[in-house]
């Protein structure tokens, strides 16, 4: 398959933007970084309740050993990512900017020691022996969460609620955020593993059909995955037009299957479950290799970064070490973002540890770090045009400013996916998404109150 044969390209019809993609590290192979001397592993790296520690201070741990157990159904297990001694459970600043609980492990002097039963070889194991429930249990045990950045515990998504049936699995290889290339590289280098991961997810869901969605700006990944799936029954590759936020679940499902997840609903309501390529790879390792989620691929990038890179790093590694490995922090860096430029979080410390959802570290130069001065809304309608959810950001901002929360709710603010397209496009530099988030929060608590 050559470039020219990428046809039947689809996309979502409503809204969307086209930021410059700056995929600086797309051609850089994934490099494995040495395990750090110390890791801080946050207990809350996922959506849901923080995990509960199951190790004591001064306890010796091996890589892959369970150190904190998921607390309830919507939560996730956490494993040691280096071998050594648990020095303490302490408050550590994480990507939210707040100090939160984390387990600190100091590497032991002797070499790395992995927990028993983990297959560290590169051999591809394609044969699937486990049944549905066992696969889901393995995934839950391994502490796998959505690796695209949403960090929703994967086993929860795989447990299809009663009365719903899954029909399709969509593997999200869109990576629509500018700069990020972690998923792109993973598809190129671990494509076969991702396909086995997809097979495992298909069996866990009981579906016959899986579609891998990839944007056209990654023709090599489309080609590679198409090659690998040529003889795979039920798995196809869907090339997609480049348009942000196509990696959003709802937009991706609309683009690939033309189904619309109902307002307030979940993908499963239209018979679909979406998992990221990174998640599929993690699932492969967990089920076929018995390896829990202890490392991930992180893109370290930015216009002035000396060597934009894709690193395979242990969770809990301080961000600064990744930046150093990419050539150090450039002068005039004004902002450091965990994740992509559209939805990532600005960090207030470079000691923040890499977490399960850290897809990239983006260094933004000073002159691009600050926002423009806020000017009056000129009603140009651009925010309405680009909103992929059919909302009116200008109106949501004004209503929120005026604290008219009933109207804010009526105008469907809770459907906002926080993609940031409105703030990105606004010619008056208005902080539309900031206010919409504020409104969403207030409305959410009003809804909770009403339901109690």
């Amino acid at each position: 398959m050559s470039l020219l044969t990428i046809n039947n390209v689809k996309t979502f019809p409503k809204g969307g933007i086209h930021p410059a993609d700056h995929k600086l590290s797309a051609g850089v192979p994934i490099k494995k970084l040495d395990p750090p001397a110390q890791v801080a592993i946050p207990l809350s790296q996922h959506i849901g309740a923080p995990a509960t520690p199951v190790v004591e201070k001064r306890e010796k741990v091996k890589v892959g050993q369970l150190i904190a157990k998921g607390n309830g159904f919507v939560s996730a297990n956490i494993h040691a990512t280096i071998s050594g001694i648990v020095t303490k459970v302490d408050k550590v600043i994480d990507s939210t900017g707040y100090k939160r609980d984390a387990i600190i492990i100091k590497a032991g002097r002797e070499g790395e020691e992995w927990a028993d039963g983990i297959d560290l070889s590169d051999d591809l194991i394609t044969e699937i022996t486990l049944e549905r429930e066992d696969i889901i249990k393995k995934i839950a045990d391994a502490g796998i969460v959505g690796m695209g950045g949403a960090t929703f515990p994967s086993h929860v998504k795989l447990s299809v609620p009663k009365g719903r049936t899954a029909e399709y699995l969509i593997i999200n290889g869109v990576e629509c955020e500018p700069y990020l290339t972690a998923d792109h590289r993973l598809m190129l280098e671990k494509g076969a593993e991702i396909i086995v991961g997809a097979r495992l997810l298909m069996r866990a869901l009981g579906v016959e059909k899986a579609i891998i969605g990839i944007e056209k700006n990654k023709p090599d990944a489309i080609e590679k995955m198409a090659e690998l799936t040529a003889n795979e029954k039920g798995i196809t590759v869907q090339p997609l037009k480049v348009q942000y936020p196509q990696g959003g679940e709802k937009q991706l499902i609309k683009a690939v299957l033309n189904r619309e997840v109902p307002s307030g609903g979940l993908p499963i309501d239209v018979g679909v479950v979406v998992h990221n390529v990174g998640t599929a790879f993690a699932v492969y390792e967990a089920v076929q290799k018995n390896k829990p989620l202890v490392e991930r691929v992180v893109t370290v990038t930015g216009k002035d970064v000396k060597n934009p890179s894709n690193f395979l790093v242990r969770i809990g590694t301080p961000v600064m070490q990744l930046i150093d490995a990419a050539g150090g922090i450039p002068e005039h860096t004004g902002k450091v973002v965990s994740g992509g430029p559209m939805m990532g979080k600005a960090l207030n410390s470079l000691d923040v540890p890499v977490a399960k959802g850290t897809s990239g570290i983006l260094l933004i130069p000073n002159e691009e770090a600050k926002r423009g001065e806020i000017k009056p809304c000129i009603r140009c309608t651009k925010c309405v045009q680009v909103c992929p959810m059919g909302l009116e950001p200008y109106l949501l901002m004004t209503l929120t400013q005026k604290e008219m929360y009933e109207e804010v709710e009526k105008e469907k603010t809770m459907d906002c996916i926080e993609c940031g397209s409105c703030s990105f496009i606004c010619p008056s530099d208005r902080p539309l998404l900031d206010y919409i988030r504020l409104g969403k929060r207030t409305v959410a608590s009003l809804i909770r109150e009403r339901n109690n």
Partner: protein
């Protein structure tokens, strides 16, 4: 490098580079071809009218924002310049200077600043100024200089009726339209701008070049102009088919008067037009319809200004009740 100087802000961390200034200057670039044609056709008079209108609009914007709104004036955003050019486009090129200044004061002062400045005015400021002048100075506002023989002669240009005025006048005296159409300039002249009229409503071609630029640069969308011109075309076409001796043909209507100017540059004004595409279509259709009703059945030969102002009044209502198609919400659901 110390991390205490890191900027912290919520996402998104990049911006499109889109800005009010860029959009406004884009509109000005789009207005340039029409401006050039009118300078050529009407000579120095058009230059003077435009200069006075622009300077006085910017002046009033500055003074009134500073001393009435007590805000830092943002005259560099270009919006007052656009109001000035559009006001000039809507008056005859021989209009006395003091009338233009009054028009600018009403446009900026009453039309814009009194509502709180940029972004808050419900009615198109240039049209507020223009209609005020039309009602207050009907004679000066309707003595249209004819195109000049020599573009640089100043005063004493011959005046005459606009093509629309000619027909309205003629029909009221009972002449058949086919005779009157002999007197109006050819469609080629209408297209190129060799006709009498307001400064900016002369050359259809120049206006079309401008709108193509704005569509290409994504400054405006097609919805309002297409709905407005389409409605006007269909409406006048229907009337023309019914009685071609009483109603002029649709092409004549599209090419004359301020229909194109209004459709491309006035009805599409951001602040005073609706927020959703559906509402834009209704808005455009409304302007087209009212324009033709005034032209064919009203007492004024031209009705674009009134039509836009009337529909401006409905915009807040439309914004409240006409919503975009929400993702994941079924119709009537």
């Amino acid at each position: 490098m110390s991390t205490q100087f890191l900027t912290i802000s919520p996402s998104p961390h990049i911006h499109s580079g889109e800005s009010v200034n860029k959009l406004m200057y884009g509109v000005l670039i789009a207005l340039a071809p029409a401006l050039a044609v009118s300078f050529y056709v009407f000579g120095l008079g058009a230059v003077i009218v435009t200069l006075i209108a622009v300077l006085s609009c910017v002046f009033f914007e500055y003074i009134l924002t500073k001393y009435l709104l007590h805000r830092e004036p943002a005259i560099t955003d270009g919006s007052a310049v656009i109001t000035g050019v559009l006001l000039a486009f809507n008056v005859p090129s021989n209009l006395p200077w003091w009338i233009i200044i009054i028009g600018s004061l009403v446009a900026i002062g009453v039309g814009k600043i009194s509502f709180g400045g940029l972004g808050n005015n419900p009615f198109n400021p240039a049209l507020v100024g223009r209609v005020f002048l039309l009602i207050s100075f009907p004679v000066q506002m309707t003595s249209w200089p004819l195109p000049l023989e020599n573009a640089w002669q100043l005063a004493d240009a011959a005046t005459g009726a606009t093509p629309l005025g000619l027909i309205k006048e003629g029909l009221s005296t009972g002449k058949p339209l086919s005779d009157l159409m002999q007197e109006v300039p050819s469609y080629v002249s209408l297209l190129l701008g060799n006709v009498g009229g307001s400064v900016g409503e002369v050359s259809a071609l120049a206006l079309i070049i401008g709108v193509i630029y704005m569509l290409w640069k994504k400054i405006i969308t097609w919805h309002i102009p297409v709905a407005m011109l389409g409605t006007a075309f269909i409406f006048t076409g229907g009337l023309w088919l019914i009685n071609p001796e009483k109603f002029a043909d649709p092409v004549f209507h599209l090419l004359t008067g301020g229909l194109l100017l209004g459709a491309f540059f006035m009805a599409t004004d951001y602040v005073t037009s609706p927020m959703t595409t559906k509402a834009m279509l209704i808005f455009g259709a409304g302007v087209g319809f009212i324009t033709i009703v005034i032209r064919e059945f009203g007492s004024y030969p031209e009705g674009v200004s009134f039509a836009i102002l009337i529909m401006n009044g409905f915009v807040p209502l439309m914004n409240k009740y006409i919503k975009p198609k929400r993702f994941g919400v079924k119709k009537n659901g």
